[in-house]
């Protein structure tokens, strides 16, 4: 684990966090309730359009990738890693893979698990999209759990290359999945319910964009430390839960902006964050506060910058499945650079922190290009540090501190000289 922080704890957390804690607990409780009531539980990878389908068919989704940060925050990630290694898996694999495989193979039957643990899957999808570690996680799960499995496939294409045939193929896959689920549940999919679920997701995405846009305000109303609100975008798309929660967040953030309330009293530097946070050390985002610096935008939160059309529910969920992963990974490097350029301008960024994440090759590849683009093209300094989003043993605080301290001092000097009166 990294060293403890000496920065003050921020007192400017969003009130919405209280509601969020309940939403998180309820999501897992609902999973166990589903199991008890005989509603099917399906484990799926995040950021695809299957969640809308699940909710429209009364299937409870479980996202191993969302479970991993929970384990990291609570500290059970270490025992899951050890279990995974015990099954012969390499330490160089993604921390999500190591946590989730270790948990599914061993941890799931252990007592006293965080949030009551995960309900076991009633069926699984062995799918061919997203990154290799996610694909492989599901292959391990399919091999391990004794439940029905459907195999699915999805093109992996850069956003700018997505054509009609990619979408058509995606829709064909979703139709196969629907047939499988209808067979499994003995019930037919109600397309109106699916349209409604898609409409809720679309509204959640719209609200999300509006909330994120408010972070352009100076001072920024909230920092990356609030990234937890993303939970509803992962687990409660396709439901009014996400929409209601985000409406409250929007109202709270709007009010903060109107009153000029920022994360720190005297905001001096606005920072950008690239790659996944260190889930076991979210306090790291507060480290910058000692210089009155705030992380006001991230690449990670843009994965939901998409719109869906309730009139075309199948196409919408196929589209969501096709774009979500490329948008944040190296599949669409040019799109990602475009997104960052835009964020730098809109959020008036002074400097960027790039987390070179040993676990996640697809998101980390291209970061040296990002760094160069920021420095050379936009004149925005960017610093890269080595870390890992799941494994604290692969993150050393001291080098981070040395690097970041020097970086921030440099930013402050730049700022001072830019604001200095002409001689």
């Amino acid at each position: 684990m990294g060293e403890p922080m000496d920065a003050q704890k921020t007192t400017k957390r969003l009130k919405a966090n209280t509601a969020l804690r309940e939403i998180i607990a309820e999501f897992y409780t609902d999973g166990h309730r589903a199991k008890a009531e005989g509603r099917p539980v399906g484990w799926i990878p995040p950021m695809n359009g299957l969640i809308e389908l699940f909710y429209a068919m009364d299937i409870h989704p479980i996202f191993p990738e969302n479970w991993a940060p929970v384990c990291a925050a609570i500290g059970t990630n270490r025992q899951n890693f050890a279990a995974c290694a015990g099954h012969g898996y390499a330490d160089d694999l993604c921390g999500y893979f190591r946590n989730n495989v270790g948990y599914a193979l061993d941890g799931i039957d252990a007592p006293d698990q965080p949030l009551g643990g995960l309900p076991k899957p009633d069926f699984l999808i062995s799918f061919g999209a997203g990154c290799i570690p996610t694909m492989k996680t599901f292959q391990v799960l399919c091999d391990h759990f004794d439940c029905p499995v459907i195999r699915a496939d999805l093109p992996q294409v850069a956003m700018e290359d997505i054509g009609e045939h990619h979408l058509r193929y995606g829709v064909a896959q979703i139709k196969r999945l629907i047939a499988f689920l209808e067979d499994l549940t003995g019930r037919r999919l109600d397309l109106d319910r699916l349209s409604q679920a898609v409409a809720w997701t679309d509204e959640a995405c719209r609200l999300w964009d509006e909330i994120m846009a408010l972070r352009a305000a100076v001072p920024a109303p909230f920092s990356a430390a609030e990234i937890g609100i993303m939970f509803v975008m992962v687990t409660r798309h396709g439901t009014p839960i996400a929409v209601d929660f985000l409406r409250d967040v929007l109202a709270e953030v709007k009010e903060r902006v109107a009153r000029g309330v920022g994360v720190v009293p005297d905001e001096r530097l606005r920072l950008f964050w690239d790659n996944i946070p260190l889930w076991y050390n979210m306090k790291l985002f507060n480290y910058f506060e000692k210089w009155n610096a705030v992380v006001v935008a991230e690449t990670y939160t843009s994965a939901w910058t998409l719109r869906m059309d309730p009139a075309k529910p199948l196409e919408s969920i196929a589209y969501k499945s096709l774009v979500s992963y490329p948008l944040v990974s190296c599949v669409s490097l040019e799109k990602r650079l475009e997104l960052i350029r835009k964020a730098i301008r809109e959020y008036r960024i002074d400097g960027a922190i790039l987390h070179s994440n040993r676990s996640c090759k697809p998101i980390s590849m291209g970061q040296l290009d990002i760094q160069r683009m920021l420095n050379d093209e936009l004149g925005v300094p960017a610093v890269l540090f080595d870390g890992d989003h799941m494994d604290g043993d692969k993150f050393a605080f001291a080098p981070f501190q040395t690097r970041i301290d020097a970086f921030i001092e440099m930013l402050l000097e730049r700022r001072a000289s830019a604001h200095a009166p002409n001689p």
Partner: protein, 404 residues
């Protein structure tokens, strides 16, 4: 959305056009490797390809995955050149890639940055793993190739997948039409399919000798597989024919080892490893790698629409770690191990290679079920190290002791 120019057969009958196409494809032409012995040509292929480019201005495209439809390139008179890093120092990629990316990808990038692949006109990737995908994009951004194309092929054998694969191929064809300024001709594709069928069949035959005791040395099989991936097929065919004619004869050196061995991993491209294994008593009879036997299995049908035949061939291709699931890999492993009477397996993995590292414990179980011992070695871009040598020695010692 994508269109393919409609090419009609004109006044000639298809058969005649086809014969002309085949003859055209096979035509002997002068090349930079004329007179070079095939083993030397394979070893020096980057230099020879560079010389060929300077001499003939032929279009050469780099490829990153075995699932690239090489026949389509051949139909446009393009030479597809498989890249795999060829032992370069991965550190050369530091300005663009972190150290936790697999060595082959870093090596390819290092070679690209050092100008070793300047003879290429571009890069084509058939989507496989995350690292290769990142490499493709970073290469494109930094080396500005004239041509860059990524195919995303399906890997399920369903009617929708077949339709989808054909559109992906047509998309590639449209891009190649623009690059070469020549129209797609189905006859030429059919001819290319025929040539690759012939070459793969000959090479499969060479491997088939290994099913029995004896047969050629694995290093030669490896070199021939490689030849087919870096030289034009019409160049490799005569080499294969000659090799086939001599395959079981005294002129072909075999491996002396007695333990029938399979190597498995992504890119096992280090001849020193093969030599070491042979010296320790291993007889590599089969490989399960991205540049070996798997690339030879399955065939595109010679008749019917060539694009459909090629798409079918790709859907039925043998399962690789990056894209296939466990049941498919299990079945493939069992089948090949039986066919080649494999007694031990050495997993030669590249460090940080997610697909193969994630499959390893599972495949080990498949082997354990049949009592087949295995060893895993990890390559870090330095080839055969003292540590790997020690591990191999220990493994062969253990096998030796356990022999009845």
């Amino acid at each position: 959305m994508w269109s393919i120019r409609n090419v009609t057969a004109g006044g000639l009958s298809t058969t005649i056009r086809e014969e002309q196409a085949v003859a055209g494809c096979r035509r002997r032409r002068e090349t930079a490797w004329d007179g070079v012995a095939w083993r030397d040509a394979v070893a020096n292929h980057p230099d020879l390809l560079k010389a060929e480019k300077a001499r003939s201005r032929r279009t050469l495209l780099g490829t990153l995955c075995a699932h690239t439809p090489v026949e389509i390139f051949h139909a446009f008179d393009i030479v597809p050149v498989r890249l795999w890093g060829a032992g370069a120092d991965p550190g050369g990629a530091d300005p663009l890639l972190q150290s936790f990316i697999c060595p082959p990808v870093r090596q390819i990038m290092a070679m690209g940055l050092a100008g070793r692949y300047d003879f290429l006109d571009g890069l084509v990737h058939a989507y496989s793993c995350d690292a290769a995908c990142g490499l493709f994009n970073i290469w494109r951004r930094n080396l500005h190739p004239k041509f860059a194309f990524q195919l995303s092929l399906p890997y399920m054998d369903t009617p929708e997948a077949l339709a989808y694969a054909q559109v992906e191929f047509r998309r590639l064809i449209a891009a190649l039409e623009t690059l070469t300024d020549r129209a797609y001709e189905p006859e030429r594709l059919r001819a290319a399919i025929g040539l690759y069928r012939e070459a793969r069949a000959l090479l499969r035959r060479a491997y088939a000798h290994k099913r029995q005791d004896g047969g050629p040395s694995y290093a030669d099989l490896y070199r021939l597989s490689l030849a087919l991936q870096v030289f034009p097929v019409e160049t490799v065919l005569p080499w294969l024919t000659a090799f086939d004619a001599a395959a079981d004869g005294p002129a072909v050196a075999g491996d002396a080892g007695t333990t029938r061995l399979m190597i498995s991993g992504s890119l096992c491209a280090d001849e020193a490893l093969f030599t070491e294994i042979a010296a320790l008593g291993g007889n590599i009879v089969l490989d399960d790698t991205c540049i070996g036997y798997r690339t030879l299995l399955g065939e595109a049908a010679p008749e019917g629409d060539p694009l459909t035949a090629l798409a079918r061939h790709h859907l039925a291709r043998p399962p690789c770690s990056a894209r296939a699931d466990f049941p498919a890999r299990r079945a493939y492993f069992r089948e090949q191990i039986e066919a080649f009477r494999v007694e031990a397996v050495v997993f030669i993995h590249q460090k940080f290679c997610d697909p193969h590292l994630a499959d390893h414990p599972f495949l080990k179980t498949v082997l354990e079920e049949r009592g087949i011992p295995s060893l895993q070695v990890e390559l870090e871009g330095e080839g055969l190290t003292g540590q790997i040598r020690t591990r191999l020695e220990g493994f062969f010692e253990m096998i030796g002791k356990n022999r009845p």
